[in-house]
Symmetry: C2
């Protein structure tokens, strides 16, 4: 049994679908997210906090959009930045900026007596304007490499081929398979 | 004796000057800053963390710039946002935005067996361009109410008349006086 600690129902649904061969249970519980430069630092603190409260194997997941020309902004603060300045704000900061490289990162942190991290990255670029009505968050302004459409212009199935979270889940599954959990 | 927990030498210097009647000592020590919507939530977590490690009376201070039209952005993440998109980024987001109200907040949190909070606020507006070479951080784009100059165009003495941190320190001193600490 693996516990997935999240208050986010959408995230839980995505994991259930991808990991239907594993016995999983959700615990809807808040844990402190610290201010730091990387998803890993944030996850490590959360993991150590939760290890004192939860018996058994558990995991958490966090993700963010890192824009190269903005030194990684909004990064680990992606959800806060989305709630405040949103895609409109990001596009304004990027006005006239030629370097448009960006990447979506997903980090799964698992605790089974030791800490394990599984990261998935999707490289791409920031669009010049919002396009598409699918997905959520920064999807309308993110175009994955090898593609002309934004994430918001894709069906879920197409998006999942590129998805950072899908890649992180793939790495997690490999670990679980080889460690016989 | 009051301990001031900060790794920031500039902040420590400002406090020493303003509080020279009190016996104070600096402890240069990191503590976790959580992701939250208000300075008070961040400070409360830090205070509770430090209360387990430090004997005696101690305090911490945090500050941020809250822009009304941006739902409080950059707020508690002011230092991260400054390091990444900077004043240039803020001015770009604010291009064409008529509502330019903003405020600087400083929050001092003191622990003497109980938690106490002292907040200082300086209301003002975001300038249309960077002006002045004094101060630091967001000073070149912040104009306090009743003024035409940005903080960066003022001498320290003039700036301190308006300053959020000065106001918070004033409240702290009142408390210390009445509680005979």
């Amino acid at each position: 049994m693996i516990y997935f600690i999240t208050t986010n129902k959408g995230k839980w649904k995505e994991f259930q679908e991808e990991m239907n061969k594993y016995e999983m249970e959700r615990i809807s519980m808040e844990y402190p997210e610290i201010q730091a430069d990387s998803l890993k630092e944030v996850a490590l603190y959360g993991l150590q906090y939760l290890a004192k409260k939860i018996d058994g194997i558990f995991m958490i997941e966090d993700s963010g959009l890192f824009i190269k020309a903005l030194k990684g902004f909004p990064g680990v603060y992606s959800s806060y930045v989305f709630k405040t300045i949103g895609n409109e704000g990001i596009l304004k900061i990027m006005q006239g900026v030629e370097e448009r490289k960006a990447s979506f990162h997903s980090l799964i942190a698992l605790y089974d007596g030791k800490e394990h991290f599984f990261e998935g990255i999707c490289n791409g670029r920031i669009a010049n304007e919002q396009r598409g009505k699918g997905g959520f968050g920064y999807d309308p302004i993110f175009i994955p490499n090898g593609c002309k459409k934004t994430f918001a212009e894709m069906e879920t199935k197409e998006k999942n081929k590129y998805s950072h979270r899908g890649k992180a889940i793939g790495k997690l599954k490999n670990y679980l398979k080889t460690s016989n959990k």
